[in-house]
Symmetry: C2
Subunit: 712 residues, 2 copies
Amino acid sequence: MPEAPAAAALNALMDPRSVAVVGASSNPDKAGGRPLQYMVQTGYEGALYPVNPNRAEILSLRAYPSLADLPETPDVCVIAVPVDRVEDYIVQCGELGIRSAIVFASGYAETGREGLARQERLRAIALANGMALAGPNCLGMLNARTGAAPTFTTALERGPMLAQGPIAFVSQSGAVGAFLLGMIQDAGLGITHFVTTGNEAVLDLADYISYLLEDAHTRAIAGYLEGADGARLVEVAKNALARGKPLVLMKVGASRAGAAASAAHTGKLAGVDAVYDAVFRRYAVTRARSLEELLDFSRSLSMSVLPAGAGVGIVSTSGGAGILLADWCERLGLDVVDLAPETVERLRLALPWFAGRRNPVDTTGRPLWEPEMMHDALRAVAQDPGVDVILCHVGLAPGPGRRIADELVRAANAVGKPVLVCWLREVDPEPHARLGRSGIPVFSDPVRMARAASVAVSYVRSRGVARDRTVAPTIAVVRPVPGGPVVAEHDARRWLVAHGLTGLSEELARSAADAVAAAERIGYPVCLKLVSPDVPHRSDIGGVRLGLAAPEEVERAYDEILASAGSGAPQARIDGVLVTEQVTEPGVELIVSGFRDQAFGPCVLCGIGGVLAEVMRDTVIRPAPVDREEARAMLSELRGAALLQGARGARVADVGAAASAIVLVSELIAGVTEDVETIEINPLLVLGEGRGIRVLDALVTRKAREAHGRAR
Amino acid sequence: MPEAPAAAALNALMDPRSVAVVGASSNPDKAGGRPLQYMVQTGYEGALYPVNPNRAEILSLRAYPSLADLPETPDVCVIAVPVDRVEDYIVQCGELGIRSAIVFASGYAETGREGLARQERLRAIALANGMALAGPNCLGMLNARTGAAPTFTTALERGPMLAQGPIAFVSQSGAVGAFLLGMIQDAGLGITHFVTTGNEAVLDLADYISYLLEDAHTRAIAGYLEGADGARLVEVAKNALARGKPLVLMKVGASRAGAAASAAHTGKLAGVDAVYDAVFRRYAVTRARSLEELLDFSRSLSMSVLPAGAGVGIVSTSGGAGILLADWCERLGLDVVDLAPETVERLRLALPWFAGRRNPVDTTGRPLWEPEMMHDALRAVAQDPGVDVILCHVGLAPGPGRRIADELVRAANAVGKPVLVCWLREVDPEPHARLGRSGIPVFSDPVRMARAASVAVSYVRSRGVARDRTVAPTIAVVRPVPGGPVVAEHDARRWLVAHGLTGLSEELARSAADAVAAAERIGYPVCLKLVSPDVPHRSDIGGVRLGLAAPEEVERAYDEILASAGSGAPQARIDGVLVTEQVTEPGVELIVSGFRDQAFGPCVLCGIGGVLAEVMRDTVIRPAPVDREEARAMLSELRGAALLQGARGARVADVGAAASAIVLVSELIAGVTEDVETIEINPLLVLGEGRGIRVLDALVTRKAREAHGRAR
């Protein structure tokens, strides 16, 4: 992992007072021309130094023959030369004490081994000199506040420069980054910084986010990820949480998270991407699923005031849009509150007689012509004690748009609660610009506004719950995991019992007579189960027989199981048939499993297990280990949590014992050697309150791909 | 319901060759000025007749003192006068044989009884004269093809007129309609017609849709609904299906659908809006949940070729956007196909060496500068036999945008498969306009493009399955429903048994001794259940005891049930305790229920029942009655369908018997008197194959609000 350069170097890169461009060109279609042209256009007030030995002047700026000739040491050096000349310049930057550099060129790690070596050399030079190096293979960056634009993205050719505002964007993709910049322009979003990270030879996404967490002008950070180191991501997420600065991340690419656990049920149930959700949730990171969501969510999360609760007041110039908003707010878990009688009375005074004065408030179209009416209505609703956030649908304002914007701003400022507005862009850009400058987010679709508001409410709620859990293990791994790529039921169960869980009375039988004798010792009823390292899901091939109450039944079941195995899995090695006690006590079947995620390491999952497992696909994941409080929280987050709480007259389950089992499994996966991929209990039978749990079946898998391949 | 005026009258309204405006004004801020001004701007080629006794000329058009003075009978008369003068003009229109009129004024049914009477008079005059009357209280309409714009919506003040294209919009809301029109403008969407329906005194949403179904220029119809008559909606949906013309509807306002069934479980499980989903699904109507979806979905559904299957080819100038699209396509159930070796070879020849030639294809940014490369790549992918629809991410095109558009059009025309494009608007509008004219839908966000594509795939699939089922009842209602607002278990069950379902051996006991005697006759084990008209969900208060295997247990259970009832529902009337056989045979518990929906009438629901019902909330609804084939389809659509198919070694359930029970309940709800609101079996125990079903519990509710109130 890159070691972070000093803060001063990073600051020189992100907020430069002077910018040198090597490979400077007056041709605006060239990578060495664009940054200069853009910075001339933005009115960047820092010093601009084109470096080009063949020109005296570029774009009316004095050009210098070499970096050594500059009148001062620039804060950042933009390296806009072909790949084979980059290294020399980086060396020179180091010698001259230039603290940061941006490398546009491609031809590095993305092209293969030779390129990787080239990149490693850049990295070594930069680190040796404490230089903050951005890229290579990046589009550069933008500081909207100062107009510093050391970037060659063509997005800036499309039109006006970016508006200033409280959001910072960091993208791991150049092309997606440029597209995003276009979307930001089209949406009129105000930003502090925009960064593309390129190949991340030195500075990576987490470094930029860490910088932005310290940046006073940035209120929310939006990131586009294609892949990142889990531990580093967790670190910045923790920092963001500690600073109360919202982080919105969009992650593309199906992660391999679940793949490791695919031999067990865990992978199938949880889906490949669930670990990101779990980690994001734990640290109150908001997840965006599309670029529009990335924009919308960062917009609402960057408001200067966030909603204190889920109470929504809707003020709409259109009855239909009000109903639509109310529908969606309910669907999104927001509370379309009943307005207090005083609020309704105020609205009566403020609005025409034919207006709707209940929530959603239908102002009618009149405020579009009499903007003070908009102020009065908005203010009345916002002052209602039940209202935490206000959604205002203006729609289209053919009349005095600027005055409407002013009245909205006046009302929002007066009440100190967050206001979101839905309003299509007018021919006159000024109304939207005024709202933007006042930190009021504007949307072009009511549903997107409602969703952005709900995300802000969720963020505040999860920020309150989330905390940095450093869980001290309560148990030690007292016995090594038994050998083999797949550890079958009784071995796995015995290993878990050795760590404190309750198993079953059981004996392994290798003949029908053996099985009957075992059953007599254990006591009827019993179960018979095929034992084979090659058949992880025995019930699929008829390898499990339950409720055997007499010797004849045991004998017959034994023979049938072997026959089933012979036809259902003819290649499988058979170790015997396990005779176990049959637990007749009613309970709820869970799945509890520990597994190893590629990005985030050990994780623990609990879910509805047994035959319902795949039908319900109801699981909750956390990074492991967890403590009892978090284990209980996991259980309560299951959609099927009611099953544990005694749904419809059933007995309340021993949730405490289930939580303890989750804690144990989480500590085991965190404590065992790295070759263990999954420790899965399915089903874990949770008995009635005070009666504990029973491990009915268990499976441990190890890294050994060939063996897995054969077993499936 | 309005009776439809003759087709010729509707045609005069929607495609007028001449337009008169009464209340005509040269002030473009007035309702009588705007339509004239707009039609002057659009270059409408029909005749325009301002009617104003005080002016000789309006907007350079000759004005006429009265309708009687016009040189011809206009096709449509726009009535832009205050409400109190409207009726006289409508009378006059009738006398003059004017076939259609549009009334802008408000002050009708929306304002109360007097307004309603006023509206009824308009309606009577219009119907008497066979006049197609639009409104009152509407914004009018637009014909983008001819430029006829008899509307006063301010949306048209925002900028250019609408592009021509294959989509028609109908909105029941004026304000939302205007907003939608703004969105249509901003998105550059091409349309045929745009209609706001207003109060629907004569013509309603269904009439306009029926017209548009016949309109040769309209390929897809998008509607915004606030409320509509279910039967009329079903009628147009059937017609749309028969004509193969996609219908996209957005419905706001939580419907009261589920409310009627709220005393039973049905309402809680299905949610208030599920019936719309069910009806839309049956007739292949695409449902939009937001205005953006209404635009996006109608855009993809109006393509001249729709996808023949779910195979997607992704061609992206950005690797990241390609991954994002692939992620989403998978999530949306599309198939990101493996490209054939020949395709990969063609791509190798077409693209730079460092391009990605697997699906999603990463063209790199080069085609943005060499547009023929875009053509070649797109064509190669589109010709792959596995590919049914192509998603092309252009992103931003700083280079030759028009040529890129031309090459995309050339490739799309050559292959005859649907192509969707994601491309932010350029400064030059021409590239997007060219794509639009060629019927290639353009999106500004990759995820929205993917979702729109998936909707087109779903439409084609569901159009193939959907058909107009006229189900002939197979049974007659042989016994009237027993009396009372809530018919308790044994009465309800007996009634169902009388119609052919299998119940349980049972006796009602009024003392512990009675209960024991009954148990002895029925045979152990037995169940005891509280019988009270006031406690529909007995297990919630401990009113159910299962698995009683001996006389002492029955005696104790009886006493405990009465004690529980005394504390849990002290006000409840107690009829006794039912002693029933306990079915020990394993099976799957379903809920099957018939209920009456406010908009669509009798419906049938099946779902996972018993204790899992509320945990899983897994239900499927259809309009009732259904036949066996549809009942089987309902069962297979359950998320928990695997439970019936013998999940993980369990026995396969008697799906045929379950389907028969659904058919029966669907016919009962369709056949009984309207006061019966719900007929609910929960649980319906589905035994193993060939073993049939058992009605374990049932409930019938009637309209009788007070009684319900007390019972809950």
